[in-house]
Amino acid sequence: MNDKTSILSAIYRAIDEINKQLPPDKKLARDESAPINVRALDSLHMVNFLLGVEEQLQLDCGLQIDLGASLSPTAEVPFATVSELAGYIQANARNADAP
């Protein structure tokens, strides 16, 4: 269940949730190319969004992943679009599965 389609579906659900907190002109698109960066989301929204993605991954894919760790104050966020976030999740899920 950690194929990219399932992961994207979980991300889109999290986008629906975070959009409830955003003004109309700031809402995120349900699109692989939609940006996920400091211009699109302030720090509080970014945390809320990533925790929403975590929750949806757990619910939809049974995948436990800590995206909070990607928000290191000293390093750049390792993804800038929805597609890159999905890739980051896939890679981390594979690493978690590795022996």
Binding site: P23, L44, N48, L51
Partner: protein, 568 residues
């Protein structure tokens, strides 16, 4: 609908809640600001918000361990007494009272601890220092401290937590953002708060129109006869319908009017209501019905018109999606909730509706259905008399006028906030605001009670008049409002008479009234146009020269009360 300006003060980070509140698509529109994290009580800044606009409401949402040092000790199983916890609650309530001046409405979500916190486990409720036992006492103390308050409202946060399930508390959110709750909790909270705000300006619904077959009972009565409908008995569906009727009766007892719109043979349907032994609702619980084969939307509009209500005060419940959609499309003002196919969900769905929210409950609310039934009797009697004047004379009207008394304050404010049609200014005020306004302006405020041989309509009218601020020779009517139940009986002339007499006693040469037009108060403008007053200028200002008295209608017996405790 008015938009509301609010502020959320919190002992945790309220930003997520405030953003959800601001961007929620349902009415009313809310623009709220988040107070600084942890700064739940900042008296100097509790007044107008940063942009200088006055606040309509304040939410003070705190965690119990942040408010009560004693409770915080108790959470760590350190020594603490219940008395110390309750003293902390009293201190908190005192602080809230100090904040209540600038913000007309204050909402206080009750305190909760996370579901995963088991306190003393099995002993938690049986031991004096059990976490939930003490918390229940603290919440009860808070509610008692604001019992009967007209502007501070404790809210049941435990219900929001229950309906949010496992998503209610999210430790990671707390550690990363100092926000203890998941979004579902906030969404439930904001819906309750928005319903209360809508209720505060009279936007609560007053009339619930019901279908019959598969709505009030199971099966089609025209097919199976009243003996064959599913209602009560040893049948889970029958029990569900009976419970739904109990919930409807509870709403009626709260002051919501019930009516019927059903495609049926009227005789067959009424027979079912009158003869089925398990019917909870009786015919006298309904203020009217349209049971025929005509279009339901047209039937409801006709019914609502005869009750003198606005279409936006109506809710329509029907099990049939086609009928729901038809009414939604034809009359968008009517609220038609989605309705579950599962009959066992009917009562729960009804009880979950937020559209009947009011901030005051009065004796008139409880008696509302009886009053409408008296009105039906009047209408029948009216047909028996030749002219309107004959009927008015035969009905024996008594209007009792009382300067505003403390005991009537809640009902007067309720009328000010709910009356839309016969309402000169359509201004909305809380009790403290009305008292403050009267104190500042020296205005006279009267309440009017109307009775006749058919019954007592209760307190149904309010007039206020003050010295005009621009013309020293003039008095100005500010509030002029009358319940739709008593339109057309010349009570309006009694109200104008009161204002004119007040002006004459103060040597004012004229009485002015400006009708502020809204979508709904056309009937008020019509009254003033036909009142004998002179219409001045283009702003619907009317003037009565006080050298001439304004006579009381001959058919009305007029009584003036001298109150024991007028509001001053």
């Amino acid at each position: 609908m008015k938009s509301f300006h609010g502020l959320c003060r919190s002992s945790f980070n309220p930003a997520t809640f405030v953003q959800l509140l601001n961007h929620d698509g349902d009415l009313p529109v809310v623009q709220a600001e988040a107070g600084e994290y942890g700064q739940w009580f900042v008296p100097a800044a509790a007044g107008p918000a940063a942009d200088g606009k006055p606040l309509d409401f304040l939410v003070v949402w705190t965690l119990p361990e942040h408010i009560s040092p004693a409770f915080n000790r108790l959470l760590r199983f350190e020594p603490a007494t219940l008395e110390a916890c309750l003293q902390d609650v009293d201190d908190f309530c005192q602080a809230i009272l100090k904040m209540s001046g600038p913000a007309p409405l204050i909402f206080l979500p009750l305190w909760v601890v996370p579901s995963y916190h088991r306190g003393l486990g099995v002993l938690d409720l049986s031991r004096e220092h059990g976490v939930r036992r003490v918390l229940a006492d603290m919440n009860a103390r808070l509610c008692r401290n604001f019992s009967g308050s007209t502007n501070v409202f404790p809210l049941n946060a435990a219900r929001w937590i229950e309906s949010s399930g496992k998503r209610a508390f999210q430790p990671k959110l707390w550690y990363m953002t100092k926000n203890p709750f998941g979004n579902d909790v906030y969404i439930e909270a904001l819906r309750d708060i928005k319903a209360a705000l809508a209720g505060s300006i009279g936007k609560s619904r007053k009339l619930l129109v019901l279908d019959l077959d598969d709505t009030l009972w199971g099966e089609v009565v025209g097919e199976v006869g009243w003996q064959g409908i599913r209602l009560g008995g040893h049948d889970y569906i029958g029990e569900a319908f009976q419970d739904f009727q109990r919930s409807l009766k509870a709403l009626k007892n709260r002051g919501v009017l019930l009516a019927i719109a059903s495609k049926n043979d009227e005789r067959v349907a009424l027979e079912a209501i009158q003869r089925h032994p398990e019917m909870i609702l009786k015919l006298e619980d309904f203020v009217g019905w349209r049971i025929n084969w005509n279009d339901k939307a047209a039937n409801i509009v006709d019914l609502v018109r005869t009750l003198n209500l606005g279409l936006d005060s109506v809710v329509f419940i029907d099990d049939n999606e086609f009928e729901r959609q038809r009414v939604r499309n034809a009359v968008p003002e009517i609220f038609v909730p989605d309705w579950p196919a599962d009959k066992t969900q009917y009562a729960a769905t009804l009880m979950g509706l937020r559209c009947f929210e009011t901030l005051q409950l009065s004796a008139e609310d409880a008696a509302r259905t009886a009053m409408y039934q008296q009105e039906n009797e009047r209408a029948r009697a009216r047909l028996e008399h030749g002219s309107m004047e004959e009927w008015l004379a035969a009905a024996g009207f008594t209007v009792t006028v009382t300067p505003l008394e403390e005991v009537d304050l809640a009902r007067v404010v309720q009328l000010i906030n709910k009356t839309n049609q016969m309402n000169l200014s359509t201004r909305r005020l809380t009790e403290p605001e009305l008292k403050q306004w009267q104190e500042n302006t020296g205005a006279a405020i009267w309440s009017l009670r109307v009775a006749d041989r058919y019954g007592d309509s209760g307190l149904v009218g309010v007039v206020s008049v003050m010295a005009d601020t621009e013309d020293p020779e003039a008095a100005r009517i500010v509030d002029f409002l009358l319940s739709c139940r008593v339109f057309g009986r010349k009570i309006e002339d009694v109200m104008l008479h009161l204002a004119v007499e007040w002006a004459r006693s103060r040597q004012k040469t004229k009485v002015l009234a400006t009708c502020v037009p809204t979508e709904k108060n056309g009937v008020c403008l019509d009254f003033w146009k036909s009142s004998g007053c002179e219409c001045r200028g283009n702003d619907n200002t009317f003037s009565w020269e006080t050298q001439k008295a304004h006579a009381l209608p001959a058919h009305i017996q007029f009584q003036e009360n001298v109150p024991a405790a007028a509001v001053r």
